[in-house]
C-alpha cells in the first residue's frame, strides 16, 4: 500500500486524531484568511498572494531542483571518504548565505536614510570570514574522516 521510497508516507490519513486536526486546522486557516481580508487593503492582497505562492513556486521549481543538481555534482566530484563533511560544509554555507541576503544587498540602508546604526557592518567580508571558518572546520573533519577510513582499512 505504501509506495516504496517516499519518506513519511502513512498511506491516506485516517482516525480521530486526523479528523480532529483537520477540523481545528481548517478553522485556524479560515481565521487567518478572514483576518487577512479584513486588514489588508484591496490593492495589497494580490501582492501578498504573489509573495505567498511565489515563494512556494520558486522553492519547489527552482531552488530544490538546483540543490538536487548540486547534490549530483557533489556525488560525482567529491570522493566518498570526505563527502559527508563537504556536504555539511556546503549546507551550512548555503544557509548562511541565504539568510544574509538582506544584509548583503543592503536595501535596508536605503529605507532608513541618515541612520548609520542600521546594518552597521561590512557584511561581505564578515560573511567570507564566517565561511572561511566553516571550511576550516570542514577541512579538519575531512582529514579526520580520511584518517579514520585508513585506520579501518589497515585493521
Amino acid at each position: 500500500m505504501t509506495p516504496a521510497g517516499e519518506p513519511g508516507d502513512d498511506g491516506v490519513p485516517h482516525g480521530s486524531v486526523w479528523w480532529t486536526a483537520l477540523g481545528a486546522g481548517t478553522l485556524l486557516m479560515a481565521y487567518g484568511v478572514y483576518g487577512l481580508l479584513g486588514q489588508l487593503a484591496p490593492e495589497q492582497r494580490p501582492r501578498w498572494l504573489l509573495w505567498f505562492l511565489g515563494g512556494l513556486a520558486v522553492h519547489d521549481l527552482v531552488v530544490v531542483p538546483a540543490v538536487l543538481v548540486a547534490g549530483l555534482l557533489v556525488r560525482r566530484a567529491v570522493p566518498a571518504a570526505v563527502r559527508a563533511p563537504v556536504q555539511t560544509g556546503l549546507l551550512a554555507s548555503a544557509v548562511l548565505a541565504v539568510v544574509s541576503i538582506p544584509v548583503l544587498t543592503g536595501y535596508g540602508r536605503a529605507s532608513q536614510p541618515g541612520n548609520a546604526s542600521v546594518l552597521p557592518f561590512d557584511y561581505v567580508p564578515n560573511l567570507l570570514g564566517v565561511l572561511a571558518l566553516v571550511w576550516a572546520l570542514t577541512a579538519v573533519a575531512a582529514v579526520a574522516a580520511v584518517l579514520r577510513a585508513r585506520r579501518a582499512r589497515a585493521r
Binding site: E6, D9, D10, G35, L40, Q87, L91, G114, V130
Partner: protein, 410 residues
C-alpha cells in the same frame, strides 16, 4: 457523444474532438511517468521518513515558539480588553522577542532541509488516492507556502528591507494563523509516522538506496549545526556576551549615537526642527485638576530619577542604558490625575503608527516609567528623542515614544 454536424471529421467519420478527449482521459488514467514522476527519480537514501520526522519535530517546536512569542508581541502592541501587559519582569519582552527572531532564524535550515527530504512526495505516485488524500495534499500548499513566507518576510524585515508592497505586520501576522492551521492538519496526518520513527520502527523503504555521503543522522545534525551557526552570528544583537560574534546581525547593540541603535531618526520622523524649538513645552493634560506645562529647564531643575532600562525592539535587537528623567507617576500626581489612570504619551511626530503610546495603569504607576532627559549621563541625542522620550521597563521599543510633547491622563 453526438456525431451530427461537426465540421472536422477524421477518416473514420467521427469528430476529432472525441479523439482528443479520449487521449486526455487516457493520459489522466495512466500518465507517462517522466522526469520527477519516474520511479527512482530521487535515489538518495536521505529522502527518508526518519530525517523527515526528526526535522518535522524540530520545525513543530520552532514554529510553535515563534507563533506564541509573535502573538504575545502583537497583543502587547494591540492591547485587548482581556489582556494587560505588565512592566515586570522587566526582561520579559526582550527575551520573548529575541526568542521570536532567533527561533525563526534557526528554523530556516530546518525548513529547507526538511523540504528537500520530503520533496519526492510532491511527485508521489499515484498523485491522488481519493478525497481524503486530496484534502491532505491540498493542505500541504498553505503549510509550505506559509512557512517559506513567514521566514522570508521575517528575515527581510529584521534587515529593514520592505520589498513586498503590503504591510509587514498584517501580512506576517495573518500568514502565521494560516500556517499554524495547516501545521495542525499536518501534525494530525503525520502523527503515525512520527510515532513510528520515535519508537524505532521506521520503515526501511529506502535501504539499498544510494549511500556513501551524509548519513540520515548526519543530515539532521547538519541542519541543526547550520541553525546553530545562523543563531550564533546574529544573537549578539540582543545577548551581550555573544556581541562580538554577531558579525551577520542587522544591528550592533552598541552602534549608533551615544552607543546604541536608532530605529527612526528625527529627520525621518520630520521632527528635526520642532524638537529643538526653544518654544518646546511638555504639557500634562486630560483628566487632571490643572494642566501643567514645563520648559526643559523646569524639568532639569527637578530631582530626577535614575533607572537602568532596556530598549527591546520588535526586530529582535536590544540595548540597555542608564536613563535619568521624571517618573510619569509624579507628573500625574502633581496635575491631580487619578493615581490608577491610564496615560497617553504623545510625540511631536505628526504621522506614523507609533506617534503615541497608551500606558496602562500598571505602566503609568511603575516608578521606573520615565520621561527621560539623559542617557548614560548626557542629554539625549536628537535621534534618541531629544528633548524628552518615554522609557519604561518591559515596553516594546516601538512604544518607547520619542520627542514627547504631551502627557494626557485618561
Amino acid at each position: 457523444m453526438s456525431t451530427a454536424g461537426g465540421p472536422s471529421r477524421d477518416a473514420g467519420g467521427r469528430p476529432a474532438r472525441t479523439h482528443v478527449l479520449r487521449r486526455v482521459a487516457a493520459l489522466v488514467a495512466a500518465p507517462p511517468r517522466v522526469g520527477p514522476l519516474r520511479e527512482g527519480a530521487f535515489p538518495s537514501r536521505l529522502h527518508d521518513e526518519r530525517p523527515a520526522a526528526w526535522l518535522g519535530i524540530s520545525l513543530g517546536v520552532t514554529f510553535a515558539v515563534c507563533f506564541a512569542t509573535g502573538l504575545l508581541s502583537d497583543l502587547i502592541q494591540h492591547p485587548q480588553a482581556w489582556f494587560a501587559w505588565t512592566p515586570r519582569p522587566a526582561w520579559l519582552y526582550r527575551v520573548s522577542q529575541g526568542t521570536h527572531v532567533l527561533t525563526g532564524l534557526a528554523a530556516v535550515p530546518l525548513l529547507l532541509v526538511k523540504l528537500w527530504v520530503v520533496y519526492p512526495r510532491l511527485w508521489q505516485w499515484p498523485p491522488l488516492r481519493g478525497v481524503v488524500h486530496l484534502t491532505e495534499r491540498l493542505t500541504i500548499a498553505p503549510l509550505v507556502a506559509g512557512a517559506l513566507f513567514l521566514l522570508a518576510t521575517g528575515v527581510m524585515n529584521i534587515g529593514y528591507w520592505y520589498a513586498w508592497g503590503f504591510g509587514f505586520v498584517e501580512g506576517h501576522y495573518w500568514a502565521a494563523w494560516i500556517t499554524i492551521g495547516a501545521l495542525v492538519v499536518h501534525v494530525g496526518a503525520k502523527a503515525g509516522v512520527v510515532g513510528r520513527v520515535l519508537r524505532g520502527r521506521a520503515r526501511d523503504a529506502r535501504d539499498g538506496a544510494q549511500g556513501n555521503g551524509l548519513s540520515r543522522r548526519g543530515l539532521v545534525a547538519g541542519a541543526w549545526l547550520a541553525s546553530g551557526l545562523v543563531v550564533l552570528t546574529v544573537a549578539g544583537e540582543t545577548v551581550p556576551f555573544l556581541r562580538r560574534l554577531a558579525v551577520l546581525a542587522p544591528r550592533d547593540m552598541r552602534a549608533g549615537p551615544q552607543g546604541f541603535p536608532v530605529n527612526k531618526t528625527a529627520a525621518g520622523a520630520d521632527v528635526a526642527e520642532t524638537a529643538v524649538d526653544p518654544g518646546w513645552r511638555l504639557r500634562v493634560e486630560g483628566a487632571v485638576d490643572q494642566v501643567l506645562t514645563f520648559t526643559i529647564d523646569d524639568l532639569r531643575a527637578r530631582s530626577l530619577t535614575e533607572a537602568t532600562l532596556t530598549i527591546a525592539c520588535v526586530e529582535g535587537w536590544s540595548s540597555t542604558q542608564r536613563w535619568r528623567g521624571v517618573p510619569v507617576l509624579e507628573l500625574v500626581a502633581e496635575a491631580g490625575g487619578a493615581p490608577d489612570a491610564s496615560v497617553r504619551v504623545e510625540s511631536l511626530q505628526t504621522f506614523g503608527p507609533y506617534r503615541a503610546t497608551t500606558l496602562n495603569p500598571a505602566f503609568a504607576t511603575d516608578p521606573d516609567t520615565l520621561l527621560a532627559l539623559d542617557v548614560d549621563g548626557e542629554p539625549l541625542h536628537l535621534d534618541h528623542g531629544f528633548p524628552v522620550r518615554l522609557i519604561a521597563p518591559n515596553n516594546p521599543g516601538v512604544l518607547q515614544t520619542k520627542w514627547v510633547e504631551k502627557v494626557v491622563v485618561l
